[in-house]
Amino acid sequence: MTRKQRRLTMIGGSLAVLAVAAGLVLNAMRDSIVFFSTPSMAAEKHIPAGKRFRLGGLVQPGSLVRGDNLAVSFSVADGSAMLPVAYKGILPDLFREGQGVIAEGALDASGVFKADTVLAKHDETYMPKDVADALKKQGHWKDDYGAKTSASAPTQGASK
């Protein structure tokens, strides 16, 4: 086999693998990328039931209800809209009412967000970055959230 043929074989093989990889990436991008929404964005966009997304906002004070066997429900609000969330499992250590939270899951037929993962941040002054940015954009940002924000705290989450 000459040098030229060898090179052609190698280049052909590489291109084939790269093409397969590109196909895989594009396919995965279509199906498994999760978008972030606040409750008002979710209402505007009419996200269909069963489509996974990340819901971010503040836990509405007074909305947390603990049911039987670790079932919990609470509402996530962003100042203009509110979305009920149902979750079963242990909430992160510093999940609090009035604090920022990110839940991952999908809406069910009745419009309740069924979360299978709930992320909160460890620090009491913390607000998840996505939530803070979204609230800022909508003008619901209060500066005192950010003043003491310390990123030294890790994300803590819970998932089923």
Binding site: M1, R3, R6, T9, M10, G13, S14, V17, L18, V20, A21, L24, V25, N27, A28, M29, D31, S32, I33, V34, F35, F36, R54, R66, N69, L70, K88, G89, I90, L91, D93, L94, E104, H122, D123, E124, P128, K129, D130, D133, T149, S150, A151, S152, A153, P154, T155, Q156, G157, A158, S159, K160
Partner: protein, 660 residues
Amino acid sequence: MIAEAGHYALVLALALALIQSTVPIAGARWNDVALMNVARSTALAQLLFVAFSFTALVMLHVTSDFSVVNVFENSHSMKPLIYKITGVWGNHEGSMLLWVSILALFGGLVAAFGNNLPLSLRAHVLAVQAWIASAFYLFILVTSNPFLRIANPPIEGRDLNPVLQDIGLAVHPPMLYLGYVGFSISFSFAVAALIEGRIDAAWARWVRPWTLVAWIFLTLGIAMGSYWAYYELGWGGWWFWDPVENASLMPWLAGTALLHSAVVMEKRNALKVWTILLSILTFSLSLLGTFLVRSGVLTSVHAFATDPTRGVFILLILCLFIGGGLSLYAWRASALKQGGLFAPISREGALVLNNLFLTTACATVFIGTLYPLALEVLTNDKISVGAPFFNLTFGPLFVPLMLAMPFGPLLAWKRGDLLGAAQRLTAAGIAALIIVAVVWAWTYGGSTFAPLAIGLAIFVISGAVSDLAERLALFRGPFAVSMQRARGLPRASWGTAFAHAGVGIALIGIVCETTWNSEYIGSMKPDAVAKLAGYELKLDGVTQRQGPNFREMIAQFTVSLDGKTLSVMTPSKRNFTTRGSSTTEAALLTRGASQLYISLGDTTAEGALAVRIYHKPLVLLIWWGPVLMAFGGMLSLSDRRLRVGAPKPAKASRALQAAE
């Protein structure tokens, strides 16, 4: 005083690095031996000063000198001594100091043990090391000085983030940095080779051990980090495809590819240009990892830096070294001579295939990690690319890689015999098929994917075993002959077999844990019993305890199997008063390679305790695999051929005389 001395030592180290980055190059240009030798002494002196600076910071933390901002923000006088020491690198400034210390350590090692290198190559390598070092010293001194004082020293510190107060912090970051920064050596060698325009098999022989050292540490560092996350974060996950984890996985994938292509270069003097490119890319990915973690562009478990000037500074370093390295490559690579010929079906061909899949897999991780950032910068859309993306891209690329893996070592150099290799793998293939059938029958009706994946893993493991058996001529001749062959077999061949088997073992662990993991989540009152995977776990009661800098709520569980009491497990929840935060300390019970895992949630109003219990079958194999890989790497490193290095002509002639 200690703080000022440490700061001053760091400035001196910068000055030395600046000398080291210029004078030896001039020496190499003018062929001046004295100037080239400057590299050696400055590299050693630089190591001395950085070590002094690092020791100074450790001493400040140990003596709890709260007049230093770094100590005040990350330490507490009541903190146990071990966490006072590990807390040194549990924050941005300290971990950057550890980074440059390790960089100086590697530079010092090249200076101390590089006596058999050609003088000009050593001068160039150390000069390139010094460029990197200078950039990072400047970064520390300008944006993240760990020795800053506070005008009015407070009495007590703010304590270290509780999640980091764990033995994992003592091991994980230093290991990871030894790996990350270790790849700077292969980068420096590559750049030096491009500057000199000369590269040969001897070059690969010098680069390979350094790459191997870095790779061993990175492998162990990633495995350690994964195990730490598993037991510390309290939800039993061991890999989250978090950007920070990906940041360490990318250099590992590229480094693994580099390790294999360096073999081709050493043995067959081929793939030179590609090996050089991989060396540059591997360290570039290490720098990218440093940037992602240190700049705070990610909101993630590990990102402590919030100051944007730091991010911009590291981004500049990143562009300078990656851009510079790649431009130099584009400019000079064509000057390098082409290497030996080989057929596509050959050992070289197999290693090229390995490189192709590893780098492609690395590219998919790269896209998955950086695409959300790019999208957010460009369109302000926020997306999260999680595990499903990586499972759909990274997974399929690893399947052909693992299928091909047992064939590689069985093929001959230059021109291999695929049919012959397949014949010698018949036993491994049959073993794999039997296992697939057994597992499929045993878990009938369950996942179809899991038995196939376990079969693949068995194929890889038994392929490694049959490779060894082939080399030892086991079962084909007298046993004594095989033993003799075993002694004579190069350690590198043993290393290959162990490392490859390690991949298979890790895969078994991953598949078993993800497929047959069972969990119990519920609230339990004292004397309540939870049943999981045949085990009975009874909650005996809850007690309170005062730790050195936290209060702890400990739950005690009695674990029994078939009515026999096995052990007592005590998961707890710690409350750290200084930071007002709590951590969950999971309790683990190891049964063979499987584990029972309990972590606690909140206490409800009625006095019931939220509990999360997992049974994780064969989960420990996930980490034993990488440990075995690292062990294989160490065996290969101890190979005589790597230690000896290329003999100089003069020495060789003297050795001949002695023999007469």
